[in-house]
């Protein structure tokens, strides 16, 4: 009996020793796509096959969503006014959902206005009220429809998904890596996507850029698990004139750059597309309406940086904040 117990203990210990394994090593892959440099940090991709697959997917999605490449599917839609593409359709439907829940604060038809203000190509200018009004007549949710899985544009309407495409790409990558049970950290331009738990048990440490000091972070978020962290702000593509900042995020109602108390909005959500869509929409809505929207929702958390320097953090995120003084938004 004693010998049997001892044998059992020895076997158990041997199995435990054999089962000890080093933590999976991270490998970085760099991809140029969607007009930005992307970093894919994958843990345990020993043969590089996951990086290879994701690189191909990102390049494929770039060929779908680029608004300027003449060979892209989106360019074809904007030129010929109709297209059938599953990725474009899925992204448009998600954008519609975000637009509906934010009373139209997210609008994917504003490309003509972006071009008018010079945000395409960085040739900034101040258009007249008449020019804005005339161009705005080409925008709006009534300027497109979905018929039998095809997207059809009306008149001179054009679509531009901007950073939504990066959010969609993040979701595609996330689905693939979750299927492999492979932890990862993806940086797609400024959009961050964590997948799974960081090997070793430490949290993912994700900084939020200080909107007024781009080389610094206004805070760090210590997050466990899968999260999309996306920031929209008035500092990303902008110009200043006569003491007024004109940023690339346009208000669909006025046809002009958003002017409110916000410097930046950071959304933390499971889905990349949702995080991007809400970061833009809540920035447009302004702090009061944005806070109320969070109170009515249960699928995201947020950080708001105001122009007066005040930082607000939603209650579900307060435990993750490092190195920042902030006010808590409660339900």
């Amino acid at each position: 009996m004693k010998r049997s117990v001892a044998l059992f203990i020895i076997l158990t210990l041997l199995i435990c020793a054999v089962g000890c394994a080093p933590l999976p090593e991270p490998t970085d892959t760099f991809v140029a796509a969607m007009d930005t440099e992307m970093t894919l940090r994958l843990y345990g991709d020993t043969d590089g096959s996951a990086a290879k697959y994701l690189t191909a997917e990102l390049l494929r999605l770039d060929a779908v969503f680029s608004p300027t490449e003449e060979s892209s599917t989106l360019y074809s839609l904007n030129r010929f006014k109709t297209v059938r593409d599953p990725d474009l359709l899925a992204l448009l439907q998600t954008a519609d959902e975000v637009s509906a829940r934010t009373n139209g604060a997210l609008d994917v038809t504003l490309l003509p206005l972006s071009r008018l203000w010079g945000f395409i190509g960085a040739s900034y200018c101040l258009p007249t009220a008449e020019e804005i009004s005339e161009t705005a007549s080409r925008t709006g949710a009534d300027k497109y429809e979905i018929v039998d899985d095809s997207i059809r544009l009306k008149g001179d309407a054009e679509l531009d998904f901007g950073a939504l495409a990066k959010g969609y790409a993040a979701d595609v990558c996330r689905a693939y890596l979750e299927g492999l049970d492979m932890p990862a950290l993806l940086t797609l331009g400024g959009n961050v996507q964590s997948i799974g738990d960081k090997p070793g048990g430490e949290p993912w440490m994700i900084g939020i850029q200080d909107p007024r000091q781009p080389e610094s972070c206004i805070m760090t978020l210590a997050l466990h698990g899968t999260h999309a962290v996306v920031t929209s702000g008035d500092y990303q593509r902008c110009f200043d004139l006569d003491g007024v900042r004109y940023c690339h995020i346009l208000d669909p109602v006025t046809g002009s750059p958003v002017q409110n108390e916000l410097c930046s909005v950071t959304i933390v959500a499971d889905s990349g597309v949702l995080a991007v869509g809400l970061s833009t929409a809540l920035f447009v809505m302004g702090p009061d309406a944005a806070f109320d929207h969070w109170r009515q929702s249960d699928d995201f958390e947020a950080v708001f940086v105001l122009k007066d320097g005040t930082v607000y953090v939603t209650e579900g995120l307060k435990g993750a904040v490092r190195n920042c003084e902030f006010e808590v938004i409660t339900r």
């Binding site: 020895i10 210990l13 000890c20 760099f30 991809v31 140029a32 440099e37 970093t39 939020i208 760090t220």
Partner: protein
């Protein structure tokens, strides 16, 4: 006698298991100071890793032109570039934090010291 034999065997197995775990989890350079460095990545491929404690200058050619990467006084900067906007040069000299990127030339300067951050949302 038999009990002592089994106890001794158990102790040996414990030591072997502990030793195996220490071997697998040992730090790569335990007790050695590794200087901060910057990894130079061009068009997705690592072309050099430069220690920041040695002044040096590296010309990085690419399909669209070139960048000159300079390490001086413990910091790295892009001191010349063929890109149209020179955003990479405007980043100035850094020794840590998030990468310096030249998007048109597909240059990424990645620091070994990231100030404890895995990524920055911006």
């Amino acid at each position: 006698m038999k009990t002592r034999f089994w106890i001794a065997l158990l102790a040996v197995v414990f030591l072997l298991a502990a030793g195996a775990c220490l071997l697998l989890y040992r730090p790569q350079s335990a007790g050695l100071e590794v200087p901060d460095s910057v990894t130079v990545v061009s068009s997705g491929r690592t072309v050099a890793t430069l220690p920041l404690n040695e002044d040096t200058e590296l010309l990085v050619p690419c399909q669209n032109g070139y960048n000159t990467v300079t390490v001086k006084d413990g910091k790295v900067s892009v001191t010349a570039a063929s890109c149209p906007n020179h955003t990479c040069m405007a980043c100035g000299a850094k020794s840590s934090g998030m990468p310096i990127i030249c998007l048109p030339n597909r240059l990424v300067l990645q620091f070994s010291n990231t100030n404890g951050l895995d990524a920055v949302s911006k």
